[in-house]
Amino acid sequence: MTGNLAISATNLTRKFGNILAVDHLNLEIPEACIFGFLGPNGCGKSTTIRMLCGLLTATEGEATVLGIDVARHPEVLKRRIGYMTQRFSLYDDLTALENLRFMGDIYRLDRQTRDDRIALLLERFELEALSNQLAGTMSGGQRQRLALMAVTLHEPDLLFLDEPTSAVDPESRRQFWEFLFDMVDTGTTILVTTHFMDEAERCHGLAILDKGALAASGSPRQMKESLPITVIEIESGHSRAVRDLLLLNSKVVDVAQIGTLLHALVDPGEAEPIRHLQRLLRQSGIKTEMKVVVPNLEDVFVMATHGLMPA
């Protein structure tokens, strides 16, 4: 049912010289959902978004966005999408209101519609008091809300957000996501890149990218449940020493420290994982408390970027 797909890409590939930035990516993103690209810096998230917006030409493969062939009709597509760049791209030396009016005029909204929508959005995004302040003097959270307003004024069907919350405090981030869910409710599709696990958790669908290729995809819950690994939480007074000892064993895939706790990913083939780990630590004499826990998204991420997810 391609009719319900906002984005579909086949073998989407982009090379910069000899560097393979995006490697035969296949995507199917349904309409009216928030879809997240999760991955380390340089994994090809931004390059993929730029190809889907028609800003970069794909070296290979093709993409259909909102039913439009991106390679052929990028300008038709541009009227129906909004793209919030990673870097703040409005004008620092214009006020919030001037920036918004400019964007409204670029999308050729008639004056009444433009001003109505600006007023409505300013209220919803709690920026009314700042409407005459220069964008350059706003805080990270305020600028981010302004940028989102600017790319949603023309009511796009599809919104690309490239690391929208990287310069934003947690409270503003929470609020920002509320806005995103409101928009999805009205039928907008949102593609967002992030490297925050809590944000990835909120997405309806998720693709983990690693070195330009798709390492895993699905809903966050699906991915956690289907994770072919046993996760053991370890509490001990000597986290670093425990970690170093455990990593020597081939059945231990990864050990991550979370505060005073350790998260050990253990081969699911091991029938008694806790006993196995305790055996490894016996010689050192370190006292530990261990229990099996449900995997979290970070565990999924670690597995995916180690190439250990089932295709």
Partner: protein, 366 residues
Amino acid sequence: MISGVSISRVWAIAVKEVRHLRRDRLTGGMIAGIPVVMTILFGYAINNDVRGLSAGVVDEANTSASRQLIAATRASQVVDRLSAADSPWELEQLLANNEISIGIHIPADFERRLALGQRPLAQLLVDDSDPIILGAARGLVNLSVAGFQPTESLTTFELLPMFNPERRSAVFIVPGLCGVILTLTMVLFTSIAIVKERERGNLELLITTPVTSLELMVGKIAPYIVIGYIQVTLILLLGVWLFDLPLRGSMVELYLAVGFFVPSVLTLGLIISTIATTQFQAFQLTFVTFLPQLLLSGFMFPFEGMPKAVQYFAEIFPLTHFLRIVRGIVIRDAHLAALTDELWPLLLFFVTGMIFATLRFSKRLD
């Protein structure tokens, strides 16, 4: 006190600076390119010894002696292309319209003057809106002819400077300055126009919108046309107030011509803006295009003194044409209708430049 200066830190900064230059290929090229190209170009092109001026001749005597005088004038090589005119009045028109630089008027009583030896034999009408042409004409004044010995007080030609008899520099310089200042400011404004948006990251947003390249280009230069008019007005007002500049021709026609000139220089800025990738590069390119215009347009050195090839090259510059227009209208009371040869090159520059800039500006990032 130099105790606070660490040589190793100075060295580190110097090395880093050299690395920046090496990574910036355009700047690297300019380090060698500017001195080499400019020295060769200007060294060959600039010549204060003017030859080959075009002249108009009215020979009312039409005797063998008068024809000898004309031949002697030509032999001096100061004038080259001679064209016949019917009356001194026509010579003045030709001078006003910049079709000739010097008018030679040999009066009907030429033979009598030659016989009596009391008055100059003939007149030289000179376009002194360029002081170097006046200087060249002065070299003809004491031309010797058979049967006439010119002296300090009695010269062969009577010199008639047509437009600036008091020889005030401001009269000659200020109208040209209009063009020079506009060329510098307009190109500077627009050369960073697109580069700035690219550097600040605004462009990535803008090219994701439905805005077209042409809309962007035209919108970028439109406000500066008004600014150009403000600048011209300021320069002319200052010229009148401070330097008593006579505004002889029609100001309406001058402002109309400014409407051709300003968009063409703005387009030059736009072209630079689509080539440069940083504001620093844009600034360098502005300088590189400004210097030849300053030196080769006829503002500082006479156009006629340059080799033909360089003259053809300099015809590309908007400034070359605007100088002729502004000097023509302001100093010589010329009419724009007679200067259309200078208008269409401006229009051509604007249109070609606009097409080039629009095509060069891609709404893609690759």
